[in-house]
Amino acid sequence: MMTPAVVLLLAWMIVPLGMTLYFSLLRYNLLMPGMEEWTGLDNYTYFLTDPAFTAALVNTLLLVGGVLLITVVGGLLLALMLDQPFWGSGLVRLLVIAPFFVMPTVSALVWKNMLMHPVNGLFAWLARLFGLRPVDWFADLPLFSIILIVAWQWLPFATLILLTALQSLDEEQKEAAEMDGAGAASRFIYIVLPHLARAITVVILIETIFLLSVFAEILVTTNGGPGVQTTTITYLVYMQALLQFDVGGASAGGIIAVILANIVAIFLIRLIGRNLDR
């Protein structure tokens, strides 16, 4: 009974990936049909030595790293807060997780225009209210702006998972530590954090997988610019493929993206596999 699912996924994985691998070894541009020829590893050399690739790799790492930093730290603080008993905490939790359900094109456009617009945006108004000069977010800090938007979308995910982990912590353990005279800080460091270590790892790994593929937010806000300041690996491959019609080059880029994602995926799969045995 597993066969249909396995066959479908196998076809989905092997056929296109095999084609990508094959294309990556060809000189193949859609603007020059019939000119395909074998070029060996030229596409890879070309892609890897392209200055845009180095920039894209750095941007990708900054984007993933920045969003992870904000969401893990912010998510931890939010989870600790939501774990406290207070009036309406259930409703507050609903407010906090809402961003996750907003489609990426909507959140990117709303943030870029209505919040971050240098003249009419809400942030600009707030800055002037405090006598500061408004920041021209997408002109001066394009990558950071995208990091903020994506972090807003992923903060609920980190919060919810850390909160779930936090709530599975044995209360009695904390109470016992308290009775033994452990302060709030040492209770957090020696009991809560070790308990959360696993959940934090899961958040980091899963977010990384998804963040490596951030695309819509870049497409609707900056188109990878100005220059290549917000071009990530994913966006670079997209440009190569659908804007420059360079099938060979884009395929080589795609394979490189797969390799990068796999480095993370191996750790994640191992972690999940270990959990499956228990």
Partner: protein, 276 residues
């Protein structure tokens, strides 16, 4: 022994919690508010928060000027369609893995998961070319198929974790009592499996509804779901905040409501059982 919580502490956290919750939710609230403003009020400085002339004109304009309902129905067809087809394929697979596991079951499950981790750009070129050659570009069928495939691992995985919780003894007991296979399915299995299937369905509709990479790359105008349609508001000359807000509010409202119901499933579905 429950610890006594001082009222003062509770008040502090209530204020802190609501303030932070409000700030995080604010962009969504702001979008909804802006959707009821005129274009002039929408860009006014200082911004108008509540005391402006509320109007429905943007909702009317969004329907009239664009084929909004078509994109809405595209989103529904694609998200519900891909989820249902996915369930059809995944239920037997998950069932087999949960109730008659073999040595390979774990490997198959993990391998399925690994396909989910394949970055989309890795297969963008061939999929685009296949779609072009087969005339699937800007069509609902092709996009539904792709979304079925990218979410299939999550569906199988989630169903597996739910099915595994159904005790196998209960089936044996029913069989001993003389239940036929048909009765076993209708009276014993279905009631126990339905909550899990429903949760899986809910989470997958949400994921498919918000999917943007393939929607943006494989559709143009005819088959564009809301994610791709909203992207059209990014052109500088087409920037009308109030209309963007109205279109956005309609696009996110249904899924926000579903999402609030699905918060528990979210953790389960997206961490693949690694956090409980």
């Amino acid at each position: 022994m429950a610890r006594a919580i001082s009222t003062r502490r509770k008040v502090t956290f209530t204020i802190l919690g609501w303030t932070i919750g409000f700030l995080i939710f604010f962009p969504v609230l702001w979008t909804v508010l802006t959707s009821f403003k005129t274009e002039g009020t929408a860009i006014a400085t200082p911004p108008q928060f509540l005391f402006f002339d509320w109007t429905m004109e943007n909702y009317v304009a969004v329907q009239n000027r664009s084929n909004y309902m078509r994109h809405m129905s595209n989103s529904i067809v694609i998200s519900v369609g891909s989820t249902l087809i996915g369930l059809l394929v995944a239920i037997p697979a998950a069932w087999a893995m949960a109730f008659s596991p073999t040595k390979r079951t774990k490997d198959v499950l993990l391998w399925m998961l690994s396909t989910k981790m394949l970055p989309a750009v890795g297969v963008l070129v061939p999929i685009y070319l296949i779609f072009r050659d087969w005339g699937l570009l800007d069509g609902l069928a092709g996009l539904t198929a792709v979304l079925t495939l990218i979410n299939l691992p999550i569906i199988v995985w989630m169903l597996y974790t739910y099915f595994r919780e159904i005790p196998g003894e209960i089936l044996e007991a029913a069989r001993m009592d003389g239940a036929s296979l048909a009765k076993e399915i209708v009276y014993v299995l279905t009631p126990m499996a339905v909550p899990g299937i429903a949760s899986t369905m809910l989470l997958n509709i949400i994921l498919a509804w918000n999917e943007a990479f393939w929607s943006l790359n494989l559709t143009a105008s005819r088959a564009a779901p809301l994610t791709a349609f909203i992207a059209a508001y990014s052109s500088p000359e087409g920037l009308f905040w109030a209309k963007l807000s109205a279109a956005s509010t309609l696009a996110i409202a249904p899924i926000l409501v579903l999402g609030w119901f699905a918060q528990r499933q979210l953790v389960r579905g997206l961490t693949f059982g690694a956090v409980k």
